[in-house]
């Protein structure tokens, strides 16, 4: 097990190196000149030259890359050109926001998606099944930005129950925090719920048709026990894998939803930074996101080994 972990950790090093190289190169392919964007409306040539010098934009690309990697290795991700705040601080500030939003969204998605999926499979061919399918279709086909604006219109403008946008940290005031994040979390969770519902339904249908479920029923177990204890546990394995993947995506920031609800998370940070050509911030955020993905992957591998002894070698 330890050898396996060691090997996997060693494999992370070249992967991260390539990721960093790709991030850096892709960014340079972005059209537009950061110095020109940074130089304000006047775009004075002297100011532009000064910005190029200050942020080493006048140096060849490989030199810029080496400087960046050197910083990253020592824990320095650089500094935002736009607001002169260290990228590390920006990331640490945005991370809890994104984690909270992602967690709430995935919980909403699991409750709605798995619940509706099970009901739809168990009540196959009934009105419940059709209703759940319509719900899933709606969830998949509704654009986030539209749903977001509609929710704001209903719950903030018409009913006045929830704030239209903004964010409050859980530690500051948990009630206000939930009020501020429930709508964006629902918008995000809704789309994922639809996917989870479809997967749960098909997995449940396959399992409900299997021999061991028939045996369980033949033993005279109650239907509830058969579904919850025997069928669902087996059916949920692929769903959990899918949910974990979706969580990974959510953790990299929900660009549109964060923009609409003015949630200061990763998504908003990266969009603003791309439009302002704030290279250091984009590089930092993408690197952190990529590392999180790799770490989650590693954790998943470890989990598989724990579950399946045959993989332990």
């Amino acid at each position: 097990m330890l050898t396996f972990l060691g090997n996997r950790l060693l494999q992370l090093i070249p992967t991260l190196f390539f990721v960093s190289l790709i991030i850096f190169c892709l960014q340079q392919l972005l059209p537009g000149d950061p110095a020109l964007v940074m130089a304000g409306e006047e775009r004075d040539p002297e100011v532009i030259a000064q910005i190029r010098r200050q942020y080493r934009l006048d140096q060849p690309l490989p030199v810029q890359y080496v400087y960046w990697v050197k910083g990253v290795v020592t824990g320095d991700l650089g500094e935002s050109m736009r607001i002169k705040v260290p990228v590390r601080d920006l990331i640490l500030e945005k991370l809890p926001v994104t984690v909270q939003l992602a967690t709430m969204a995935i919980v909403i998605a699991l409750v709605i998606g798995v619940g509706a999926g099970i009901i739809s499979a168990v009540k196959k061919g009934t009105l419940w099944d059709y209703a759940a399918n319509v719900l899933a279709l709606w969830g998949i086909s509704t654009p986030n930005f539209w749903l977001g604006i509609m929710l704001i219109f209903l719950f903030s403008v018409k009913l006045g129950w929830l704030p239209a946008s903004g964010f409050v940290h859980l530690s500051q005031d948990w009630r206000a925090s939930l009020a501020a994040t429930i709508m964006p979390a629902f918008v995000l969770g809704n789309a994922i719920a639809a996917v989870l519902m479809r997967h749960t339904r098909s997995a449940m249908l396959a399992v409900l048709d299997s021999d061991y479920v028939r045996t369980a029923r033949a033993k005279g177990l109650r239907e509830r026990t058969v579904i919850l204890k025997h069928a669902m546990r087996n059916a949920l394995t692929p769903v959990i894998t899918l949910a974990a993947l979706e969580l990974g995506t959510l953790l990299s920031g929900a660009v549109l939803t964060e923009q609409i609800f003015s949630i200061p998370g990763f998504g908003k940070l990266i969009v603003d930074s791309v439009f302002n050509r704030d290279y250091a911030v984009v590089q930092g955020v993408v690197l952190v996101t990529a590392t999180t993905y790799l770490a989650l992957n590693l954790l998943a591998d470890v989990a598989y080994i724990l579950v399946n002894p045959r993989l332990r070698g």
């Binding site: 059209p31 020109l36 129950w161």
Partner: protein
């Protein structure tokens, strides 16, 4: 009851329940500002935030007159090379330090010499600053520069505490210390900027609101929803298409002023090979395009007639507008005749670069339809803004729809665009006569003499048409009727002194 509940929720949500006993003004911004250091800042939205905590030597009024703020008066010498400024007595910075002549000298020199200063080009004519006495400074110029005082009504005129600025260096913007009505409390990037009333402000009797929270909300529809639901008290940059909705709501009010800037089309006349086309090589064809555009109809179709059609770098209501060159009426036949005279065969294509945006794209489509009638096929190429700037600079366009936010002094709308090889001479326009007049306009302070110089310049520019001026937008600020005393100035900034929340 619903409203009270909503207000209570918002107090909790936005202010973490701390400040609802105090009065708090919540202002929605269209973007997150850049660094809050007046020397290093560059964004329009940043200027809106500065207005609450960084006073300037001078300010402007509704009619664009220069009025005192931290300075009481200014006097320019006969040769235009010295300006003596008297400072307001008893002014303190937020850290308690006095604003005296030495502090004013420090701030101006910081703007002029600090590495990466964006103010340097604005006050580059300044040679040195001398302290005359505790409340008087003398600005010695390299050459006469009539826009100087106008520059001091903006960030170049903002005074910073020498003690705090020296200690913080280029990190000053993370915790700015100025001499405005409010002092900086906190900033969470992309989330909020909080300022609170400064008890030692020189005009403290006119400051009635305890706290201001600036909230960047990018989507204009969401800003409006927040205003309607009570999440904001005021927001900037309402959409022209939302004007009707705002006016029809009895709880909301729209404050407007005609902007200092303009919307126009840059035409590549001599910036690389792309200029070689009928539009780029012939002034007659450019005049034809101008005549093909119905500016009134454009305004009516895209902006419900709320904006003001124009043909010069200042609006028809501006003191420097040249009435002898009125906004041309549409004349397609004349446009066709001009194109024929120029020897161009129609229809011909023009690569029309348009920065991405709902309103800009709508404007471009209307222009496209109108130009087509004269035989000019404007091929719209929607481009992300940062990319469009780079391409404009490189001359990779034939026509470019571009807005300018405007400056108080007309020179700010002119010089960097029309002077040969100036930073924003994207068209590559060079005319020795225009260059001479642009320079002369900077030397003369007398209004009538200066206006006469600009009249000659207008004649040249409108004949050459390297840039077609289309219309002037209105600054659209929407706010709740609970907010009293709000007055909109043409620069679009939100001034907070004198405001009350009912």
């Amino acid at each position: 009851m619903k409203t009270i509940a909503a207000v209570a929720t918002f107090c909790t949500v936005f202010l973490a329940g701390a400040a609802c006993a105090q009065s708090t003004l919540r202002i929605g911004l269209a973007e997150d500002p850049d660094i809050l250091d007046p020397t290093l800042a560059r964004t329009y939205v940043g200027r809106i935030v500065f207005a609450s905590f960084c006073d300037k030597l001078f300010d402007i009024d509704e009619k664009l007159n220069v009025v005192p703020q931290l300075a009481l008066s200014h006097e320019t010498s006969a040769d235009g090379k010295e300006v003596v400024i008297k400072l307001r007595p008893g002014v303190k910075f937020h850290d308690g330090e006095p604003l005296d002549a030495a502090a004013a000298k420090y701030s101006l020199e910081r703007h002029l010499t600090m590495q990466g200063s964006f103010r340097k080009p604005e006050i580059a004519a300044l040679d040195r600053v001398e302290v005359v006495d505790a409340r008087t400074v003398r600005l010695v110029l390299k050459t006469p520069y009539s826009p100087l005082i106008a520059q001091l009504t903006d960030r170049s005129g903002m005074m910073v505490s020498p003690k705090a600025a020296t200690a913080a260096g280029d990190r000053f913007g993370l915790h700015p210390v100025c001499a405005g009505p409010y002092k900086f409390v906190q900033r969470v990037p992309q989330d909020r900027i909080v300022v609170e009333k400064f008890s030692d402000y020189w005009d403290k009797d006119n400051v009635h609101i305890d706290r201001i929270v600036y909230l960047p909300i990018v989507d204009a529809t969401v800003r409006l929803a927040n205003l309607k639901s009570g999440g904001l008290d005021l927001f900037e940059r309402a959409l022209a298409t939302d004007i009707k909705e705002i006016r029809s709501d009895s709880k909301l009010k729209l404050s407007t002023a005609l902007e200092l800037g303009y919307q126009g089309i840059d035409i590549n006349v001599d910036n690389g090979p792309a200029a070689r086309n009928p539009l780029g090589s012939s002034a007659e064809v450019r005049q034809a395009l101008s005549l093909a555009i119905d500016r009134d109809a454009l305004n009516a179709v895209v902006f419900n007639g709320e904006f003001v059609p124009g043909n010069q770098w200042v609006s028809p209501e501006h003191p420097y507008y040249q009435k002898s060159f009125p906004v041309p009426k549409r004349d397609v036949e004349k446009a066709k005749a001009l194109i024929r005279e120029a020897g161009a065969s129609t229809p011909f294509d023009v690569d029309f670069m348009v920065p991405k945006g709902e309103e800009t794209q709508a404007v471009a489509e209307v222009i496209q339809a109108m130009a087509a009638e004269a035989g000019i096929n404007m091929k719209i190429r929607v481009t992300e803004f940062a990319t469009s700037l780079k391409q404009a600079e490189a001359g990779e366009y034939q026509a470019y729809l571009l807005a300018w936010s405007g400056r108080t002094d007309p020179d700010g709308n002119l010089y960097i665009f029309h002077k040969c090889r100036a930073p924003q001479d994207y068209p590559g326009y060079c005319n020795a006569g225009a260059d001479r007049l642009l320079d002369e306009g900077r030397l003369v302070s007398d209004f009538s003499k200066r206006k006469a110089i600009y009249e000659q310049l207008t004649k040249i520019i409108l004949a050459d048409d390297p840039k077609l001026y289309l219309y002037h937008r209105r600054v659209l600020i929407a706010h709740t009727t609970r907010l009293e005393g709000y007055k909109q100035m043409p620069d679009g900034l939100v001034r907070v002194v004198g405001l009350r929340l009912k």
